[in-house]
Symmetry: C2
Subunit: 320 residues, 2 copies
């Protein structure tokens, strides 16, 4: 599919792409470039790339495809560094969780002859680093592409083919719209999870130890989300500030209304809200994004982001 | 173990207990009592009790053990109705998610010769009704007992034996302390999940459909929790008002601090909070309440609430 591919940044996403690209034979030569020498050593040890370098400028030379799998906050620096070394007609793509700021901070440093196709794979775990990656990470997941109106269709087709080969389903939308949708589905839930786990962290020691002990009653689900990579998430919130603050405002208003209902003992309001939210779950199940309990104890299903792959697993308790 | 046992309220919890008691042969006669005739018909159809009645007063007569598995808000009414019909020296227990209010609203209606042992199994799914129950629901879970200082030790031992026979591990604590701990581990997470799903429900239709489509990026975990029984949860919030409003206040303060950091672009503060919360997850994993990724794609583990049972399953995405 490509002659030479360079992945810049070998964390969970970058190293998973490296494994998938090798397994599927999508590149004649695969270069792993990471400024962190420890990461380079680990990648060499794992044998998931043909060449490994801590020199980004060297790494991208003669590459047909450059994949930037670095935190959103590092995109501008990396773009500035590699811009002058990019081959004419090469394609640059990324994997960042925010898209408008990636376009804004990368575009100015790319030569006119280079094609930028921003991308965002909706996949991940709460683990980080090159050893956390695995080639199946993108199977049955969405990959969202946010090309600009002037982007060459051929370049978009190539990135589409890349993600399809890695097992993903493609969706195309504008970068600003992406940032709003993900602000609700991903950024706000992560912010809330970080907050609630942070609140528990501040508790007196004896209560805290019991919170850990009885975490299966709801709290545990939040700790998994709140264990995600802090650098990546700091950058997400700094770079999707407007959309996040907007949805956070709506959330706070709704929470205040529930708080008031609890204080006043307004059971009718509480019931109404709790009843309406059930419908969202039903719709997600109907779309095949989650599964109704198939057997005793299977309260939830599938980590899959798209309809084709649905593998049930045991869910956590939703007890009181 | 018991001659005659009556379960009042045959929802998810009551019907699961019925199945477990039958399977383990813990009662010579098991009576299912529910005021809802539809539920009684369903229970008869499922054959999970020896006798089925919609008359609670009839149902509890001559019983040695009466289990109240009704929403917390219905406890007082039920206690008032059955109180005069209870056999001397019988034991009354419950399964409510709030304990102080259960003690307060039940105790006045019980004859002095009857032993009250309040209990709370930390188990559940987001599904409701007699057909949603299964006998393994309590396997490897905690059951918290909150007996009063004057409660007979023999009665506490019998309820301990009951829950152990159903597969649970016992913890004993005071009712007020229970309400604070569960306020953090369970009630606050559910309130937050209901809120965030409610916020998404109010979105414009085109954005909402995309929220459903890309729900795997974090939002989906919240929809499962927010699909829980609305009546049960309305009652939890009305009956654990003080503890819930207290932890909600702390949560709101912490969220406001993060909001301010996002607005000001204070990356150091965001990183600090996001880094500290990782530690909670580590401690839960070390306690055996969740498992570290054992294989590719296994980002999370086990629905178990207690150490003995740990069965890995595929976790959801924690992507940006």
């Amino acid at each position: 599919m490509f002659k030479k591919v360079t992945i810049v940044g070998l964390g969970l996403i970058g190293s998973s792409m490296a494994r998938g690209i090798k397994e599927q034979g999508l590149a004649e030569t695969l270069v792993a470039a990471d400024r962190d020498q420890d990461v380079c050593d680990k990648v060499t040890e794992l044998s998931i790339a043909d060449e490994v370098t801590s020199n980004l400028e060297e790494g991208v030379k003669e590459s047909d495809l450059i994949i930037l799998a670095v935190p959103v906050g590092a995109i501008e620096d990396v773009g500035k560094a590699i811009g002058p070394f990019l081959k004419p007609n090469s394609i640059v793509t990324d994997t960042g969780s925010v898209k408008q700021s990636v376009v804004d901070s990368l575009q100015p440093f790319l030569p006119d002859s280079v094609h930028l196709v921003p991308a965002h794979p909706i996949a991940g775990t709460e683990f980080s680093g090159p050893e956390a990656g695995f080639s199946e990470l993108f199977h049955g997941r969405w990959a969202i592409l946010t090309p600009l109106p002037e982007t060459s269709i051929k370049a978009v087709e190539k990135i589409t083919a890349l993600w399809e080969a890695l097992g993903s389903t493609i969706e195309i939308m504008g970068p600003k719209h992406h940032d709003l949708v993900l602000g609700i589905t991903s950024h706000l839930p992560h912010l809330i999870a970080y907050t609630i786990v942070g609140t528990a962290t501040d508790l007196e020691d004896d209560v805290k130890s019991e919170v850990l002990k009885f975490s299966a009653s709801g709290f545990r689900d939040f700790t998994r989300i709140a264990a995600s990579d802090p650098t990546m998430w700091r950058d997400v919130f700094l770079h999707n500030r407007v959309a996040v603050l907007d949805v956070l405002q709506r959330f706070t208003e709704d929470l205040t209304a529930l708080q008031k209902a609890i204080r006043r003992g307004d059971g009718d309001y509480l019931y109404k809200v709790f009843d309406e939210t059930r419908d969202m779950r039903k719709q997600i199940i109907e779309m095949g994004q989650a599964e109704y309990a198939a057997a005793p104890g299977m309260a939830d299903a599938s980590p899959a982001g798209t309809p084709p792959v649905v593998a049930p697993h045991k869910g956590s308790a939703s007890s009181g």
